[in-house]
């Protein structure tokens, strides 16, 4: 099975609202990264976490290595937040395994 299980696969938000994305890991991961892929296909680094919680503007991410999951919270969603969000996690060999992505659509 997949080492990185990401949910939901798609999400629709109205501007100003928020939600959470989640990744569950079936093996021990050393760290997790979150990316936004925009309409041009570029991957934007959002967070790198080896543990704990990080916050940047309207985004907050948590990585719980013991319970093998990570979350990305988006609050006060804006139109420019639309895109596909990926988590990617690395084990001891530091190779990144990507989740299947969450396609976020923010509507006015």
């Amino acid at each position: 099975g997949d080492q990185v299980e990401q949910s939901p696969s798609a999400l629709s938000l109205h501007e100003g609202t928020g939600s959470a994305l989640r990744c569950n890991f079936t093996t021990t991961m050393r760290a997790v990264q979150w990316f936004q892929q925009n309409s041009r296909g570029s991957l934007i680094n959002l967070f790198y976490l080896a543990s704990g919680t990080k916050e940047n503007g309207r985004l907050k991410s948590t990585f719980n290595s013991k319970e093998s999951y990570s979350t990305l919270h988006i609050r006060d969603a804006q139109l420019e937040d639309s895109g596909t969000y990926f988590c990617a996690a690395g084990g001891s060999n530091a190779k990144l395994t990507f989740g299947k992505g969450t396609k976020l659509s923010v509507k006015s």
Partner: protein, 113 residues
């Protein structure tokens, strides 16, 4: 952080031809990787580009089909041999400067006719 540049940013080629994708880092990096992403899908690690030696390929990817060179710590080339329509995808190079964050190039969109 590391900035990665890829060339070309997009290409269209005929079936059976070969094409090269170049990746340049703005500083020396220990690890360089190549990923493939089909439309509306996730990224799949193809191989680790090793400086001065053969690349290490993941299951489903071979050096005959996707030869990779890494002559120094800032440069790598991915070749797609005998391109087929099923190879149409985005190819990303990535690297880590140290032990943590992995950075990605802008991607090369390939369409094989």
């Amino acid at each position: 952080s590391v900035l990665l540049y890829q060339k070309p940013n997009r290409d269209i080629c005929q079936s059976g031809t070969s094409l090269k994708i170049q990746c340049v880092a703005d500083s020396q990096v220990v690890s360089m990787f190549w990923y493939q992403q089909f439309q509306e899908q996730s990224l799949m690690l193809m191989a680790t580009a090793n400086e001065g030696s053969e690349a290490t390929y993941e299951s489903g990817f071979t050096k005959d089909k996707f030869p990779i060179s890494r002559p120094n710590l800032t440069f790598s080339t991915l070749t797609v041999n005998n391109a087929r329509p099923g190879d149409s995808s985005i190819y990303f190079c990535s690297s880590r400067a140290g032990q943590d964050t992995q950075y990605f190039g802008p991607g090369t969109r390939l369409l094989v006719l």
